[in-house]
């Protein structure tokens, strides 16, 4: 649309004039904020509820994270090196309803326990690298959802990531994010300078869209203008004024300019907000409120350096006491995660998140140790640390930071990944791209084990009976194809077909979070996730059997609809 941006620019001039000098935040809209806000339905952003996302790029091996350890086909005949072995002394069929938590007192290595960790639903287990999920799980604050995918699942990273992020399976043209639409529906984009933030190398599709610039920080510590030398007090003001000046000068419309200009707006609006937060390493003083992991010291919650990595520094620099691998990648991931947590706790942002790569384990995936195990450790500690951060330092926490805005019950942490991996190991001791995978959701408002009489926080990884999740009954246990290797039919594992089928659509999980947690109305949700508006075919809300044209012809897939994991 030619010239539309010129109009935007003119609006901007007017707003800037109205606001006088500086950023003119008060004048970001000509409609008073309360009035503009009242125009929106729902309570997104008003309820104080927030979302923290982490995208696991590359396709996490869900079967290696949430292990169907009681499945008869789960054996070395399909996974020789990537198998997570059972512990001979553990009765995985028992249903205590809580997970085992193999702690590591004294100098015992953090991850000395290398068997599958019983989850207590009689069927599933955790990768030992995820041991720190056990306390989160046992508090009922964790939902683990297996077999999550979407119709006509793509096994391409880039397609599939796009679908997860734009909320539109099989539409790889749209680069408009599901969380972007959430913010647009909230009305915050035009009333609040800061509504959603990512901390990663580029703004993810999740937050992308043409009508508002959501913020991406590549490095929170460097998020300012260089300013003017020798003038710390006025430098940024001058640089900011120069940007404002460039921004307020009209220009001929060109393909990329409207987009660029929008991002400059975002920059100008958020510079001062972020400069008030302490993202530094020395500011990372957040520690556990108990002696962590059965030891005698409270660990740092965000291992952003070696000294803050688990029990290392407390145990004579013992590398066996790390809670995650000690690497630049892990440190910077936790720095980004910390930034996301700080932003949610200190600002009015509703959504913050980051990403972590390395999950494309085609080669030398490893089992209880190795590449995939390292990644699981990061996931496990991330959720453990986030929970503690908000419980201690968040609103109404035990030691809240000044002006804390976010309690653990206000936040849902969701981990996304574009697909699971093949059930059968390849010859490079890795696994290839497949279909359904695992979603992790954590938060004080998550309805996990022990809450509402629940015996489990695991969805989609139980063949039925005691220990099964109530939502599982919405869809039958999906059998794998006939087991040609002599195993038992009805396993989660296909022997001739290496792809786990979905029984949950990722949109149902995100939809439940966006509506029941963030506060969207069902009408809003129908716009945020258009599949909801087609319940008779998509069955995202209450489940059902998905057939053509949503599925390929001849395919019919029973799904459970929303997994009932909140509230």
């Amino acid at each position: 649309m030619p010239f539309i941006n010129t109009l935007n620019r003119r609006d901007f001039i007017q707003r800037s004039l109205l606001g006088g000098a500086g950023l003119g935040l008060a004048a970001l809209t000509n409609v008073p904020p309360f009035a503009a806000r009242a125009l929106a339905e729902g309570t997104i952003g008003l309820s104080g509820k927030k979302l923290l996302f982490v995208f696991l790029r590359g396709g996490n091996d869900g079967l290696g994270s949430l292990v169907p350890v009681q499945d008869s086909a789960y054996s070395t005949s399909i996974r020789s090196t990537t198998l997570i072995a059972r512990d001979g002394a553990t009765d995985y069929a028992a249903t205590p309803g809580v997970a085992d938590f193999p702690t590591s007192p004294g100098l015992t290595g953090t991850f000395a326990y290398t068997s599958a960790i019983r989850l207590g639903n009689g069927f599933a287990a955790l990768h030992p690298g995820l041991k720190f999920l056990a306390p989160v799980y046992n508090a009922g604050d964790l939902a683990l959802i297996h077999r999550v995918g979407y119709p006509k699942q793509s096994r391409s990273h880039f397609d599939s990531q796009n679908y997860w992020e734009n909320g539109l399976p099989n539409n790889n043209v749209s680069k408009e994010g599901i969380l972007y639409r959430t913010i647009i529906e909230s009305g915050l984009a035009s009333t609040s300078p800061l509504s959603a933030v990512s901390i990663q190398s580029a703004l993810p599709v999740l937050l992308r869209g043409s009508a508002a610039a959501l913020t991406n920080l590549t490095d929170p510590l460097r998020y300012d203008l260089l300013g003017v030398p020798n003038s710390a007090s006025t430098g940024d003001v001058k640089a900011t004024n120069a940007l404002l000046s460039a921004q307020s000068t009209p220009f001929p419309d060109k393909k990329s300019r409207a987009f660029l200009s929008l991002q400059y707006d975002g920059l100008l609006k958020t510079l001062s907000i972020f400069s008030s937060l302490n993202f530094t390493e020395s500011g990372n003083t957040y520690v556990d409120d108990v002696n962590t992991d059965g030891g005698s010291n409270p660990y740092y919650l965000f291992p952003t350096s070696q000294a803050k990595n688990g029990g290392y520094a407390f145990n004579g620099n013992n590398t066996g006491k790390y809670v995650v691998d000690q690497s630049g990648t892990a440190n910077s991931f936790f720095a980004s995660l910390k930034a996301a947590a700080l932003i949610l706790n200190h600002t009015d942002a509703v959504i913050a998140g980051t990403e972590i790569g390395g999950f494309d384990t085609h080669d030398n995936q490893g089992g209880a140790t190795g590449l995939h195990a390292t990644l699981q450790q990061r996931i496990g500690w991330a959720l453990y640390g986030l929970r503690k951060y908000f419980q201690i330092y968040g609103k109404s926490g035990s030691a809240p930071v000044t002006g804390a805005k976010c309690a653990w019950s206000d936040v849902v942490v969701v981990l996304l990944t574009e697909f699971g991996r093949t059930t059968i190991e390849n010859t490079s001791r890795g696994t290839d791209h497949a279909e359904a995978g695992v979603m992790f959701l954590a938060g004080g408002g998550v309805k996990g084990t022990g809450k509402s009489g629940r015996l489990t926080g695991v969805v989609g990884c139980h063949p039925g009976g005691t220990g099964a999740h109530p939502s599982d009954s919405n869809a039958p246990w999906i059998s794998g194809p006939a087991n040609q290797a002599g195993g038992v039919d009805g396993s989660m594992f296909g022997i001739s077909d290496r792809y786990l089928k979905r029984s949950v659509d990722y949109r149902s999980v995100l939809g439940e979070v966006i509506r029941d947690h963030l506060g969207a109305t069902q009408n809003q949700l129908n716009r945020i996730i258009p599949g909801y508006a087609n319940e008779s075919q998509e069955h995202l809300l209450t489940g059902g059997t998905v057939t053509t044209p949503i599925e390929s012809s001849g395919v019919s897939t029973p799904i459970i609809g929303e997994p009932d994991i909140l509230g």
């Binding site: 991406n216 640089a239 987009f259 920059l267 010859t427 791209h433």
Partner: protein, 692 residues
Amino acid sequence: MNAKDSPLLGLLLLSLLTVQQATGQPILPAPTLTNLTLNGSQRVLRWTPFPAVQGYKVFSTADLRQPFTEDTSGVNNGFSWTGTNTGSARFFRLDTTPLDSNAIVTATALNRLAYGPTPALLDRFKTNSIDSYIAEQLAPETVTETVQNQHTNIAFFEGKLAPPATPVPLTNGTGPGSAIIGDLRAWFALRAVGADRQLLEVLTQFLENHFVTQYTKSLDYFQLYYGDFNMRSRVATELEYREITRWRNALMNPGVTFKDLLTISCESPAMIIYLDTVGSRGDGGRVPNENFSREIMELFSMGVDNGYDQTDITDMSHAWAGWTVDFVAPTEVFNPFATRLLATGGNSVSNVPGAWAFIFRTNYHGTSRSVFTNKFVPARFGAPWTTRTYANGTPGSYQLTFPVRTGTNTIQDGYDIIAHLADLPFTQEYMSVKLCRLLVHEDFAHGYDFTAPQLTPEAELVRQCMMAWETNMPRGQIRKVLDVIFKSDLFRSHTAAFAKVKTPFEYTVSAIRALRVSTDGTGLHGSWSSDTDGTSLATPMQRMGGMVLFDRAEPDGYPESGAGWISAGTLAERGRWTQSLLIASGQTGHNGSQNGTGNDAGNSVTSPVRLLFTRLPLVTDQQDTAKVADVFLGLLFPGEGAANLNLYRTAASTSSTPPMTARPRHPSARSPLARLRATTPMTRASAAWWRC
């Protein structure tokens, strides 16, 4: 020049170098007046800016039956015109003087075929047709390359990148075989900044990014063989260098085809390691690794969801099993059947003469099958693609069946695939789309219905590219395709100039080029008004969105779209780097460690004053603010049109006050040159200053 005194220039460089100029929608609505206000005794007309306009003129008439005449009673002020409200009604219309077409194409070509304009190139094509430049860039073998003279680091790095003469393959120090990845990056950047064969550099980077491989993955792989980090770092670096050297050499061949380029990628040890073919086995019923099989179709040739499915991926994965790497004599580096030098498994091979090479292991190879079984070219391609034969006798069928082969002959399965994929219509389409995105604008996609009665200009250009690919024999000649793009209306028209967002590499390199003249005309090291040691670009590129050359983790390569690069955080980084670059080295903001916060530009430096002296030799001109402003605006915004720069021009030559309303220059304002002199030392002729 110093950001303190002219922040606007810094921001101009920031905001407008961020986009490349080019081409696009052939039709835009004509510029129109959008607003008329009567304000007491004033009558103000406003209009929206229009691309590539040299002058806006207001015409008026009191009577529509009479011709409009230019109304000189008012004053043009950027995108508005203020005249006297005479009280009697008049009709107004806007008239524009367009920039001449050669200037437009010049701006586009220098931003697409090259890493941005330099002052010298802009001078050269003020009067000469840019078509001569396009023609010579298409034939780099006809261009004399002088980049080696421009910076002593180039020879220094080439010395390290050269193959060692001694039997010890990869050595410490600065001799042949000692290059590490930072050396390769710096050398690559220096060539981009200074090369005469600019299109060759652009295309080499395109291929490097399209056939993406990852230095770090090789580095990890060689942990099996080298305990010493530096040793495996040199090995991994050499694989990247070998790859781009082969592409570079191939591009110097006038008849180079896509098949040639694809073959280089498939044979590259860096690729075999990167996409895990190296450990894949298809023998004895084993399940081969699918990674390369998928990505060669999805990303390197056909495009996602374009003519293949999972069955083809699985089928094809058997054929690639056996494509692995091993350590062989240096003379055997292109012999896939060479004998491995030693049992490498678990052994350190440090200090043994040899090189890592593509080796075919017959005993790993899977049972050959057919791929694309029963698949036909979709009707949307139309003739000739739907009607010709491919790898079998049935028109339109592109099933590829491997003959029964045994022993070392089974390597041919892979080469059959390469030859087949290289010229499939899907590949022609996807690669044409990618080249159009690189050279025109980013809004091209694959999946067009080429049989539609009315094609969009984008679809039509892709089809023309495919026709050039298909009908010139041998098929797939890159230069034929590029020629179609460079002659297209989309490329040559002005309407989507500034259509592309620059990658961090393009951004940093083009910023240095934009202000870069040889101040004494020698073109030698030390004479440049703007330069880099090469090494100093790596850190800012990393900060501007994680662009680390030769080390992309994901196999889709670095983004071609602006949305992949631009966010508030990366704009802050672009702004910081530009500010630092424009501050004299050694002063606050351009001093100290580049890893800190106060020296974003490092050993990339520019002296706008030295540049200005070459452009405005007369002292009186140097003190004329309007002329000074015009120098920089002309260098930074060729193709924009002078009239669209008026507000910037006024602002830059008066003060840093926002040009909301243009205002006359205050008589007491110091000339910009005086301000420049006060803050920018004329330094750095010393060659030592540049050394890495």
